[in-house]
Symmetry: none
Subunit: 203 residues, 4 copies
């Protein structure tokens, strides 16, 4: 029929795939995303250009894949019973990653690219952001059940209250991203989410 002919993944060369992803990571590190070319990646990976075009639709998808391969499993979110402490752990971890020179460039590149390419955006968010956000949400749900967060709070909003300010500062570079900043944000947000206490319960 009219279907586009899809390559046969079972015949795919794992060797080439690895070489390509490695080349992408190196190349992004050296010349940045904008000046990264498929041609250079192919050359560095010792691979035909077609092999790249066969398996990745765009430069963005390629870099996303390379970045995913670079990242390990996301650190699990702890539950010590102390919401503030636990949330500060995630926020600091997020922040450390955003600031890590190894990840910063590709992160910015992908963030930029996703602004222009919604399909890539979905992949990007699902693969890299969602897990973190969901884990945080889960932790907040526990806190909510424990009465540390008000019952009526929409946890999706809560998560955005936490991450939003950090990304805002990272994106706009309006001020340095410090762990102190992350902690402050957590404290403010938890204050906002706290259930209305009985008289005298507010610290």
């Amino acid at each position: 029929m009219g279907e586009a002919k899809t390559p046969d993944a079972s015949r795919r060369s794992e060797r080439s795939r690895q070489a390509i992803l490695k080349a992408v990571v190196e190349q992004v590190g050296e010349v940045g995303y904008t000046r990264l070319t498929i041609e250079a990646v192919a050359a560095r990976a010792g691979v035909g250009k077609q092999t790249i075009y066969r398996w990745w639709p765009t430069k963005g998808a390629l870099v996303l894949d390379a970045f995913l391969a670079l990242l390990g499993e996301p650190a699990a979110l702890p539950d010590t019973g102390d919401v503030a402490r636990d949330l500060k752990v995630v926020m600091r971890a997020t922040l450390v990653e955003l600031v890590n020179p190894r990840f910063e460039l590709p992160s910015r590149a992908l963030t930029a690219e996703t602004q222009m390419d919604p399909a890539l955006a979905k992949q990007f968010v699902d693969a890299l952001m969602r897990p973190n956000l969901e884990a945080t949400k889960a932790r907040l749900r526990v806190a909510q059940r424990a009465g540390q967060v008000a019952e009526g709070v929409d946890l999706d909003v809560a998560v955005e209250l936490l991450f939003g300010p950090v990304y805002h500062r990272w994106l706009l570079r309006t001020a340095p991203l410090t762990e102190r900043y992350a902690d402050t944000v957590v404290d403010y947000v938890l204050a906002a989410l706290r259930p209305p206490g009985p008289p005298g319960s507010a610290g």
Copy 2:
């Protein structure tokens, strides 16, 4: 001698400048930022390429200029005495602009571009974001003096608590940007910033 030859701005053709900025806006609207080319802009504006290269250093700077010309003066922030109501006005205005199809594409494009180009980023933030942020900060300062915001609050952080979540949702497209959302964010943030009340003042 070794000085870079700077063009003489007094001889600049206003006619060409206007035509170029107009062409850029149209072009971005039609093919998006990525596929916008200097060549096409020059052709559409009936202008030599050199005229563009003479006055703008990069594509990003060109689009930024075009975008600035497109925007009017930012709406002034009201002071009705009701902080919540006033902040909701700004936040809603911000949001409406982010969602306006006429501005969304260039905004995303510039946001993307600034990730890769810190010099452009500074211009972008100073020209487009800072005024809004500063106005908001000023309003919060008034509130702080009026005792509606706790004394110890760092107002720069406060501003980020407000705008961060909105931009987060806009950038990641995790959920629709509604005025209700803006209002909710304002309410939460003000709750967090509220000064510790006397027993019984909460709720």
Copy 3:
């Protein structure tokens, strides 16, 4: 050991061979020799590319084979006793073939290709030209024995005198190839070859 592994012709698939030659003929007819690709031939014939590379060394050889399969046996040269008439029959037949649209394209393609590939040239001449030339030479030998052609004439040269002009016109397209032209050439050449007659025999 170092022997090149030769394919076992006894196991060759006649079905594939036919399909390939058919595909070649069709393909040459549709897109011409230059734009004929092994890939397209394989696809059209429903055959793996390797099957073509296994049995034919070059595109030229492949097309030559396809062309040979297309051609029937060469018409035998008559001997009516009248040299002029007999030669005109061959020359006209040659000409008809050169002008036949079914054969013209591949003929030109092969003629072209042989200019660049002497090995193919030999095959081409031996298979397609030589028989005709030899038959003509044989007829001239008979004529020579019959005293219609001078004794000293080198018959190889005689044959070239006949065919040369016709091919010249075909190759250079300097004028249309008509049967009248073929006849004229035969007449002139026979005049040149005629033995020196006794006084009064000329005319």
Copy 4:
């Protein structure tokens, strides 16, 4: 209108043109016509590919131009009063050129290419063959007026009788191209063209 935009020849870089033609000649000499690539020519000439594509429509046209630049003016045909001698001079000259290693490769390449490209063929014939053929025809006309060639002879045909056999042998490589062969052809052809003499005038 719908006209294709033609480059402005007055701005053409003579420097680049020369470098390109030189590179083509060298490249053809080294790797032959088939393996000559635009890319390699551009690289060797220190020129952008586009500069080649801007001024020449096909590889064939490019090589033809290069070949024309290589050739000097064609030697003028002498008129000593002795037709046979004069014609032998042209034929030998033709032959020498065909056999000259410097010219043979490009000549064969162009002859081949013209088989597939009638437009190029016209240029090729007009520029390289026609002058020679016309000169020969002119000489024959003189001979005809002098009564050395029969009145009724179509001189275009006569020219083909002369050149056809030589090209035939060159193209098919059926036998070595010698000056003796050229002379023989001239003698036969003149014999064929001779006017019917009075008794005793032959020999």
